[in-house]
């Protein structure tokens, strides 16, 4: 479906649906390349505005996510160019390599999240509680340490261990699913 008008507002509902469907993938992609939440938020908002403005040129023959990621890519590059004196970023060759891998990885984001649910459920209750304190409540690592009455260093190491455990579990599940398909 091509839009004949430059005014995207009649298709706002469609754009919103597509955008909200893929929003978390777009943000994941951006985060992979800038690795900083505040900057990722800024870039995502700018990219969203550009997508909204350019939606009239989006053709239904294209895949929305791919189109959106290309826009996000340009916004990332613009952002890094503007902030290069202030914001240390990855070298161009690393960015290029990460970009290609990130595009591929976010397309299976939903499978990753499903795998994550299963993998979190397999953690020990104590580890699940640590994750909950750190992420669901948004507490700093210091606050978590105070809550569970452990040192910051111990909590830091425990979270590192849990993250890697989850990472290995998710990777195994993704491979299993690939083999099943």
């Amino acid at each position: 479906m091509s839009h004949s008008s430059n005014d995207p507002s009649p298709h706002g509902d469609e754009f919103m649906r597509l955008y909200l469907t893929h929003e978390h993938k777009i943000r994941g992609y951006i985060l992979c390349l800038v690795s900083n939440w505040a900057d990722a938020d800024d870039i995502q908002q700018q990219a969203a505005v550009v997508m909204w403005k350019k939606y009239a040129t989006f053709s239904s023959q294209q895949h929305f996510l791919h189109w959106a990621l290309r826009i996000a890519h340009y916004e990332i590059m613009n952002y890094l160019q503007k902030k290069r004196n202030r914001l240390p970023s990855y070298s161009p060759s690393v960015l290029e390599a990460l970009e290609a891998k990130a595009v591929k990885a976010v397309q299976e984001e939903d499978r990753r999240r499903e795998a994550l649910q299963t993998c979190v459920a397999r953690l020990r209750p104590r580890d699940q509680e640590l994750l909950r304190l750190r992420y669901e409540t948004g507490a700093t690592i210091q606050a978590v340490a105070a809550t569970v009455e452990r040192s910051v260093d111990a909590i830091y190491k425990a979270l590192n261990r849990i993250h890697y455990q989850l990472l290995q579990c998710i990777r195994s599940r993704l491979v299993e699913q690939e083999n099943r398909l």
Partner: protein, 601 residues
Amino acid sequence: MMPTSEIQKEFRELLGALREGTLNERPKARLDLLLGQYPSLQDEYIDYVLLWHALCCYQPLSREEQSSVTRKMVERWPGEHDFWHLIEENPSDVKGKGRDPSDVKAIEREAQRRLDRFLAEQEEIRKQQQAEPRQRSCLDLAEMAVHARRGFESVCRLAARAAVLTTLVLAVLIAVWYARTGPVVASLADSMDAKWDVDMTPQAALHKGEFRLRQGYARIAFKRGADVLIEAPAEFRLQSAQRMILYSGRLLAEVAPSAKGFRVDTSQASIVDLGTQFGVKAGPTQASDLHLFMGRASLTPRAAGAAAGQILTEGQAKRVDATGRVRDIQFNKTAFVRRFFPKSGFTWRGQPIDLADVGGGGNGFGTGQLNRWLEIGTGLDGTGYIVNGQTTQQYQTTDNRYHHVNHLPYVDGVFSPDGSAGPVQVSSRNHLWRDCPKTAGTYFEDVFNGDYIRAGGKRHGLVLKGQAFGTREHPAITLHSNAGITFDLDAMRRDMPGLEIIEFKALCGISEHARTHLDSTETGTADFWVLVDGNKRFEALGIDVNSQPQEISVPLGGREQFVTLVSTDGDGRPNYDWSFFAEPRLEVRAIQTKRPLSIGQ
């Protein structure tokens, strides 16, 4: 080049610091160096960041939550609450109502007014911050400039965010109004056990918009002639009288010639009907499957750079994944619900009516019991001649009467035939089998739908050409001579109004296990019959243990009332007539729905 364990350990420390926001310039440069030197660490890095992202940021909003967030965003602006009510009315009130164009203008004016007011407030805040005297401290001037700039940038970011969100909210509100008052594109033709996210009434007119079927089944009749049967859980959007989007779930589309070109989009593919019946299974990120039941359809992957579209014909099935790759998959005739029957409460997926299942009290689609006996002498449930753990099985003399079965919905009756006294009644409506042969006038075993036949106190399998029967996968009805059972086709048609019974099919024979049981003087010979309303439509005479299984195919025209299966002793003796009908079934097909093109209220 693979990283050493030391490098890996260091890498993981760096990722931990990144996660906790403590990665400064020098460690970041080190991370960059490691990512450049070791490509395998790049994969690990991506996986780690996405894990971190999933853990700490995103809680996907349901539609209700989105609506709630949007409401809150509007409600934080002081003003009349009827602004929101103007837009977000109860959906059932909105559907079908006309919308006064002046409301649209009112919405736009109010939204613009609120945006202008918000931006003015933000400008005021910015000016105030600029006017406040800066506090001098021990910080050097360069750092003070950085702090001031960051403060200003922060306010600008806030204003930009608000502007973006406001623009999007405005677009959503206008689009919601637009979508809610769009044209009627279809109607809810029928449903069974259906639960929707919105109120839905029978025969409801459906506007362009999104729907979520949480439970049950629904049939949607599009205005141009396509019929779509949706199986929950499913989320979809009705785009026009000729198009819909399936976000997730399963559907079966039957497209009348007038609706040729009907289109179903999924996240992965577009399917366009070319005069057909097809099934589509989709998920938000999984692959989409297309099964072609009848006619032709085109399948086009949606991914950028994917392969060109292709045409599918009857009996083909394809899968399209998120990258646009298309591959062949096994066509599955029973993968989709093709009819549902609200009165009787069951669904049909294209499979035949299994008469062994019917004999077990089922509806023919797997709801019956296995290993169920029907007493020939009474028409009641039998015990298989097991009384107090002891078998009492022996030859019974036929009363030559037809015994009506009242407790099984599609079994009419049972009997033990002997033609020596004249025509034999074979149905509750007095259909007579005029050519029933003379028999020994005795029977040994009741009608049974399990996987064995008993003799000599032991159980012997029902086997033809090495294949065992009497299971769910390979059902059977044992009719040791002389026995018959009649099935009620009218009762089936009443409960399955969209289906047409077109044929009876089965194999018949004597179980090969009889070979090991027979002595040299025994033969075990039986005759097999299939009657339709008392008229012979199939016979296989003199079948013994060494005979090939006989294939039975009896076409049916749609008006027959009863089908009767009979086994009689072929040699005047029922001994060792371990006769059975293997996979007895009624082939059915869906009656195509016919309706006028326009759907009116």
